[in-house]
């Protein structure tokens, strides 16, 4: 998959319905639920034993960068918008892009000790904000900051369209650094709020997907 270079303002990039995105059909990625056996606590395993984990089966992903910022647009079918935590038993829809921040960082386990994964995390109830996380294994995610990652989501006619973006090079330890012209691995995860998905209860792309970051001089308009 390619992250197309487009000379676009950040504002436009963050709008999933803007011109640059309309031109990108993206690629459908199959998702699977995190196996119950991998859930970190017995209580979660017992509670989810025999239940579906990962209610969202696939997501269409596109990527654009403008030289500074790399943006992903995730587009998936979801008949229920869960954008607010209305009650104790209500959970928000969420999505994340994960990038290896070290070589051999394992995708399925959200990294491992000394092999962090860098996560760009959007949650429907946190509106226009998103979290920049690092994780070294399931249940270890830690917020690096809440300013670096920008995201915006629109739910319409039974679909979420969410843009998650970040400057390609940031000064934050634990953050993956991205260079135009390179090839990187990325992963996607989707949490379906109405299915009470949160934490390790999610759907994710099974392994790192390859993404080629177009060089800034490569092809002009996509």
């Amino acid at each position: 998959m390619r992250a197309v270079y487009a000379k676009t303002e950040l504002e436009s990039l963050l709008d999933p319905e803007s011109g640059p995105w309309r031109a990108q059909a993206g690629e459908s990625i199959q998702l699977m639920g995190t196996p119950v056996g991998l859930q970190p606590t017995e209580a979660i395993r017992v509670a989810w034993m025999g239940k579906t984990i990962g209610a969202i089966g696939s997501v269409r992903v596109a990527a654009i960068h403008n030289g500074d910022v790399l943006a992903f647009r995730l587009d998936w079918e979801d008949p229920d918008e869960d954008a607010e935590v209305l009650d104790n038993d209500s959970f928000p829809d969420a999505a994340a892009i994960s990038l290896p921040a070290a070589e051999d960082a394992p995708m399925v386990l959200m990294g491992a000790a000394g092999k962090p994964v860098n996560v760009w995390y959007w949650r429907a109830d946190e509106a226009d904000s998103a979290r920049h996380l690092t994780a070294e294994g399931l249940g270890t995610s830690r917020t690096l900051d809440v300013k670096t990652v920008k995201a915006r989501g629109i739910w319409k006619e039974g679909r979420w369209q969410v843009v998650i973006a970040r400057e390609m090079n940031v000064n934050t330890p634990g953050a993956a650094q991205i260079t135009p012209g390179s090839e990187i691995g990325f992963g996607v995860a989707i949490w379906e709020g109405s299915h009470k998905e949160r934490a390790g209860i999610k759907a994710f792309s099974v392994d790192w997907k390859q993404l080629t970051i177009d060089p800034t001089n490569a092809g002009g308009k996509a």
Binding site: E126, A127, D128, S129, T143, D145, V146, K147
Partner: protein, 971 residues
């Protein structure tokens, strides 16, 4: 504003991260839910400025947020100056942060009275623990308000203090000079402190000859049956005295609702070995901690008590020595007239007050009056004797005990069970337990007095304790009403006048008069207690205390609700209006202003009469149109402020220096120091002081130099404020000096200094004092000793302040004879409100002190969030009503709507709505008070006889509510 005060945000590390990164707008928009700590602005300029602005605390981790919560700038001692009555009072530390009261926690520094009893700590209750929330809630009054719409319409104009007080002053001057000073009437209520508020009020009304309503019988706290028996109502123990009891009888009370801080002494006495009996229609919060719960039909406790008395006599579980010495049971009654045998029967010009007994050796002799000590007398408890009267006629006389035994024959447990619904097993067990108890204590509250036949119930209860001699010993005793107070208000009033004022008619009225009477009384063997009572009766005569209930019955139209009483009360012999007329004509009872002259100005001081008065719509209909002004002083909006013309914002309890009366149950005077201020609220002292000054100024401006008082004496107005302030000694904001004067001139605080009290918050009384009410306790308060009342009578043989100078069970006043109530008896409750199947009763709630917390958000959240009525499972099922459903409650008077709680603990035939919901908490503003006709019981109009004459807070006719009949249906 309350929101801001109560929802402070806090700093977290994440907040810092975000604030530094995206700025405040980002935080607001994203709502990451991170808590920001920032000092809050005080509610307005007049409120105290922050002491300092704390720097945001260091944030290491989430724990610091909680640590920061628990920090404060200063701690001030205070209390809640509301009438908690039986549970009054508790010392609190008020925690102040940024100039605002942040929270409160009990002082908890009381000490054990002695090593045999637990200490009283920490005292307090849930209501006190949230006053810091309540004082900033939307019910507070911030500014002086003047009504601009119709009365009750809720339309107000904000006024300045220097506009509103002269306006009120002018209205008062118009009334005082054109209609009469007695037309200015003060209703005082549960916020009356006997401290600075009372000091201001008593000086003011003394100088202006206003009418002050004694509301104790109207509210139903006058314990008529206690007064009939003991000649007084105020005597109660200290709660730690229960530790000496082996039997505790909770009867007519639910102390675990209404005596929260005292209650541990009951549970602890039970642990120590006391058996607890509760007697109530419902299985209530107190019953759960008892050993025996005795169910009874509401209003039928007299039948139960008389059955117990029957068993006591039958089994000879009675204390004959006690009865012949302390009670009227050996006194002789004429068979022909049912009247006591009197000296006037036996001698020409003999006294009507000297009564007789029979001694086997000496024959019929006069009963001792100056002392209970019998000397060589051994009075016959039983017997029928003959004597020859002065007119030569020979009559038979019998002892009261003989008459009583005859009466008790009607109350076998089996017969009583039919009347009161109590299992005979429980009646017999109760009799066995109290008949064999070493020290049996009664726990009660002002419940029976709220029944139409409450006096009969109380007389019957007292009889049970008298028969068994359960008085005076540690841990024993039937009790009346609890009240313990410093005794210097009267001094504070008198001290307005100097020697040079002796020609001042007001001064003469206040100071003179009594001296001559005192000599006469001493010669006649009056005890100090009796003389204090007479001084109180003097205040009633002067109008400084005037019967509250008759004010509402006559001027407020409440009497109209008794029109159907002949249908409701089968024992009634003639219309109660006729008896009322007779009572007023004969001077048995009195009312101000006199019938036919209208009240003109009503001051409501820390009171809520439109919530309180049963059948209050009649008062709105009959009294309100006569009033030129209704002025309410309160810290919050109430059912009464809603119908007032002027609302004056009073300081809350943490916003002033104050002291507060208490009860012997926790015999410590309590004080408070001003911790903060609130908008334009002022202390009651300051409001009344400024009002007095405003009257003085307006009188001068209008050229009014004097007025004529209710007795026709001309009184000066030109030095009004001069007198009020004691020549400037007590200025508008000298609350602290007033406290000092009150504390340091009291006879019963052991030389306590105000500065020490203010610092500590509480101090134990050292004597009962000379107050006309508290003298009734009749015992010494000894250090290291619990308080057991009435030892002056039981051990020191001082006579009781009754006609017979004894505990008196026989009353031969003509109304009692007419109503066949000369002895304790059971009468079925009247069908007040019509012949409906359910009795609408109540009781004080655990959730509020009067109405002061009734609309508090936190308290409501621990209930149903709105008024609710308890009904039984059976009554609900029969009517298709579900728990949480709404019902219509109705009778001949009116109807209202309410949510129901269906409870396993409630007896069939009863609907319980606890005290003091505000009218505005009900749909259409109509609640249970609308249905309560409060029929006037003719017996209560009696007077004339020594102890049946009206006295302070007792022996005046009352209002009742517990007999109200209703039906309900699901909505």
């Amino acid at each position: 504003m309350g929101q801001e005060l109560n929802t402070t945000k806090r700093v977290t590390r994440r907040t810092v991260l975000i604030a530094g990164a995206v700025g405040a707008a980002g935080v607001a928009g994203v709502s990451l839910g991170l808590r920001v700590l920032r000092p809050q602005a005080p509610p307005s300029a007049p409120a105290a400025a922050p002491v300092h602005t704390p720097a945001p605390p260091a944030y290491d981790d989430w724990r610091d947020v909680y640590r920061e919560r628990w920090r404060w700038d200063k701690v001030v001692r205070s209390s809640h100056f509301v009438n908690c009555w039986y549970q009054a009072h508790c010392a609190w530390n008020v925690y102040v942060k940024d100039g605002l009261v942040w929270r409160e926690e009990q002082v908890a520094e009381y000490t054990q009275t002695n090593s045999e009893v637990p200490d009283p700590n920490p005292r307090g209750c849930q209501k006190g623990a949230c006053f810091s929330e309540r004082m900033y809630d939307p019910g507070r009054v911030r500014y002086p308000l003047k009504r601009v719409g119709e009365r009750g319409a809720g339309k107000w104009k904000r006024m300045k203090w220097d506009e509103i007080l002269p306006e009120i002053a002018d209205k008062m001057l118009d009334t005082i000079t054109q209609e009469g000073s007695d037309r200015v009437v003060w209703d005082v209520g549960p916020l009356y402190t006997e401290g600075t508020m009372t000091a201001a009020h008593q000086r003011h009304l003394t100088l202006l000859d206003s009418t002050h309503l004694d509301q104790n019988s109207e509210i139903g706290d006058a314990h008529r049956g206690v007064a009939e028996t003991f000649g007084k109502i105020c005597f109660e123990r200290s709660a730690d005295d229960y530790m000496y009891s082996d039997l505790i009888v909770i009867w007519g009370s639910n102390p675990f609702y209404t005596q929260i801080p005292n209650s541990h002494f009951l549970t602890e006495a039970r642990y120590k070995g006391a058996r607890i009996i509760t007697i109530a229609p419902d299985f209530n919060a107190s019953s759960i901690h008892s050993d025996l719960h005795i169910p009874v039909k509401p209003g039928c406790d007299a039948a139960l008590a008389l059955a117990v008395a029957h068993e006591l006599v039958k089994n000879d579980w009675i204390d004959r020595d006690f009865l012949v010495e302390q009670t009227d049971l050996p006194l002789l009654v004429r068979e022909d007239t049912r009247l006591f045998l009197r000296e006037s029967d036996l001698k020409r010009r003999g006294s009507d007050e000297k009564l007789y007994l029979h001694d086997p050796k000496q024959g019929i002799v006069q009963a001792p009056r100056r002392s209970l000590a019998l000397g060589k007398l051994a009075p016959s408890l039983e017997g029928r004797f003959e004597t020859t009267l002065a007119n030569g006629e020979t009559v038979a006389v019998r002892t009261v005990f003989s008459l009583l035994k005859e009466r008790l024959a009607d109350y076998t447990p089996e017969k009583a069970a039919e009347l009161c619904g109590t299992p005979t097993s429980a009646i017999r067990e109760f009799a066995r337990l109290i008949g064999n108890a070493k020290a049996a204590a009664m726990v009660t509250s002002s419940n029976m007095d709220k029944y139409y036949h409450g006096n009969l119930m109380e007389r019957s209860q007292a009889l049970v304790f008298a028969l068994t001699g359960q008085f005076g010993k540690k841990g024993s005793g039937f009790v009346g009403f609890p009240w313990l107070d410093h005794d210097s208000i009267e001094h504070f009033v008198r001290s307005m006048f100097s020697v040079g004022d002796m020609m001042n008619p007001t001064a003469i009225k206040v100071i003179g008069g009594m001296l001559k009477d005192q000599v006469r009384m001493k010669l006649d063997g009056y005890t100090e207690e009796m003389m204090s009572h007479e001084m109180g009766r003097g205040l009633i005569k002067d109008g400084r205390m005037s019967c509250g209930s008759l004010f509402w019955y006559i001027h407020g139209g409440l009497i109209h609700a008794s029109d159907k009483l002949e249908e409701w009360d089968p024992y009634l012999k003639r219309p109660v209006k006729e008896v009322l007329q007779e009572s007023l004509d004969k001077g048995w009872q009195d009312v101000w202003p006199k019938p036919g002259t209208d009240p003109k100005i009503l001051f409501v001081l820390g009171s809520n009469p439109l919530r309180r008065i049963r059948a209050y719509p009649l008062v709105l209909e009959h009294l309100w149109p006569k009033l030129d002004a209704v002025v309410t002083l309160d810290w919050r909006m109430t059912s009464t402020t809603q119908f007032s013309d002027y609302v004056l914002p009073a300081a809350g309890w943490y916003e002033r220096d104050e002291i507060k009366w208490v009860s012997p149950l926790n015999p410590y005077i309590h004080s408070g120091e001003k911790a903060t201020s609130y908008y334009e609220a002022k202390s009651d002292w300051e409001i009344i002081s400024r009002l007095t000054e405003a009257i003085d100024i307006r009188a001068k401006e209008r050229g009014i130099k004097s007025y004529t008082d209710r007795r026709g004496d001309v009184r000066p107005l030109d030095n009004l404020y001069e007198k009020f302030s004691g020549g400037g000694e007590f200025g508008h904001t000298d609350d602290s000096k007033v406290c000092e004067a009150l504390i340091e001139n009291s006879s019963n605080l052991g030389g306590l200094k105000w500065k020490d009290l203010k610092k500590k918050g509480f101090s134990r009384f050292e004597k009962i004092g000379k107050g006309a009410v508290t003298v009734g306790i009749a015992t010494e308060i000894e250090p290291g000793q619990t308080i057991t009342p009435l030892t002056f009578h039981v051990f020191d043989k001082q006579p009781y302040p009754t006609l017979s100078r004894r505990m008196q069970f026989y009353i031969d006043q003509e109304l009692y004879l007419e109503m066949a109530e000369e002895l304790p008896t059971h009468k079925d409750p009247p069908l007040a409100g019509g012949d409906y199947p359910l009795m609408l009763t109540g009781g004080h709630t655990r959730w509020s002190i009067h109405s002061n917390w009734r609309d508090d958000k936190l308290m409501l959240q621990q209930q149903r969030g709105e008024p609710a009525a308890f009904i039984s499972v059976g009554d609900a099922e029969r009517r298709g009503i579900r728990d949480g459903g709404d019902v219509r409650v109705y009778n001949d008077i009116d109807e209202f709507e309410i949510q129901v709680k269906v409870s396993n603990a409630v007896r069939d035939g009863q609907i319980i709505i606890y005290h003091a919901w505000e009218n505005f908490q009900f749909r259409k503003g109509k609640g249970f008070q609308n249905l309560i006709p409060t029929p006037l019981n003719p017996v209560e109009l009696a007077g004339g006889q020594f102890h049946l004459r009206p006295m302070l807070i007792a022996m005046q006719p009352g209002c009742t509510d517990r007999d109200t009949r209703v039906e309900i249906e699901a909505l």
